[in-house]
Symmetry: C2
Subunit: 191 residues, 2 copies
DNA sequence: ATGGCCATGTAAGATGTTACATGATTTA
DNA sequence: TAAATCATGTAACATCTTACATGGCCAT
């Protein structure tokens, strides 16, 4: 089955390549390893076969270079690769891009009714504490990127910051809603 | 390799089961098909094998019922299943639950520099318009769940609403930032 | 009775993870 | 020079998607 669209990771790799080219496969991989979002694992078994796939599809090319004793391949986009990247970004955006983004924390809190009151409070407390810590590192990222005058990097970091702050505010709302509700009953199920 | 943790989808299925049991595999599937988040595909090829897996692991059981001429299996959690579900929800939460959630829109806007100014504006306009439409349906969801006094359903919907609103505000920030920057240059790359 | 949706699957294939292998290079 | 890390992979496996198959049920 001839694939014509790009997956999320494939689109990202082409995008990273557009910014970094010419560069090695490993420096592409580093972008994902260094991302503040744990969603991007950047595992070798994902990146290297993916790059080989894109190369065979004619979206990128690799030119063998030799630096010192080490052979490494420098990657670059082909015209077809640039076109595929633009097509990936061009409207209309698919529903999954616009729709409610997945959030494993929101998912879990939807099943809070499973836990007895004590563990429920422990879960919320853990989430509140860890969120605050994590948010501080993102705040530092934003400050750094602003100082470096990296406009697009800054916008992405601001988006992440906004998402985390909104989630933090929502988390407080959840805590309030459960506290104000009578705490006498344990595991009430959704009607 | 003996898996001991649950994947996101497996945890969700156990959670849905806790709320709906006893119920059929299809009604579990419906929960995902009807979810407002397009992240949950609810494809048959994902759900049915997953349920069989959980059953073989002893986390749920299936009792064959016959309604009319149709045989269907009613699913329910086992004690081990309940324990696994609680363990999935119990702290410490893994990093991927706390960290910056993935957002395909944020990812794409990070590569805005790829597009020429005209297509860039088209992309942002499409995103703004579709976001507004989508947000209205989520708002309606919130109103409905509030009326139905479904506390946990309401909290999840409020979380989705908060995430979308934050994204909408951020999107406006992106539009402003790009408009205020001189528009003379086309595809500036990240330094 | 028939066309369409309900309900339950299965098969093939794409993609990603974990774990390992290998050699080069840097650092203590 | 020994250990750590860089850089590039590969193999086995798990999971999910797409597409199909099958039979029951329902409205016209």
């Amino acid at each position: 089955v001839r694939r014509t669209t790009l997956t999320e990771l494939e689109g990202c790799v082409l995008g990273v390549l557009h910014v970094l080219e010419p560069c090695t496969a490993y420096s592409v991989r580093r972008e994902f390893l260094d991302s503040p979002s744990p969603y991007w694992s950047g595992s070798a078994g994902a990146i290297y076969p993916l790059i080989e796939r894109l190369r065979r599809r004619g979206l990128m090319r690799a030119s063998t270079q030799t630096t010192g004793r080490r052979k490494s391949r420098l990657l670059g986009l082909t015209p077809a690769g640039r076109a595929a990247l633009r097509a990936w970004l061009r409207p209309p955006l698919p529903d999954v891009v616009i729709g409610v983004p997945s959030d494993p924390l929101r998912t879990r809190l939807g099943f809070l009714s499973v836990l007895p009151a004590r563990e429920r409070r422990a879960l919320l407390a853990d989430a509140v504490r860890r969120m605050a810590t994590h948010l501080r590192t993102i705040d530092a990222d934003v400050v750094r990127l602003r100082r470096e005058r990296d406009l697009f990097g800054l916008l992405v970091a601001r988006g992440a910051q906004a998402a985390l702050r909104a989630r933090q505010a929502w988390l407080k709302e959840v805590v309030r809603a459960l506290a104000s509700r009578g705490e006498r009953r344990g595991g009430s199920k959704r009607s």
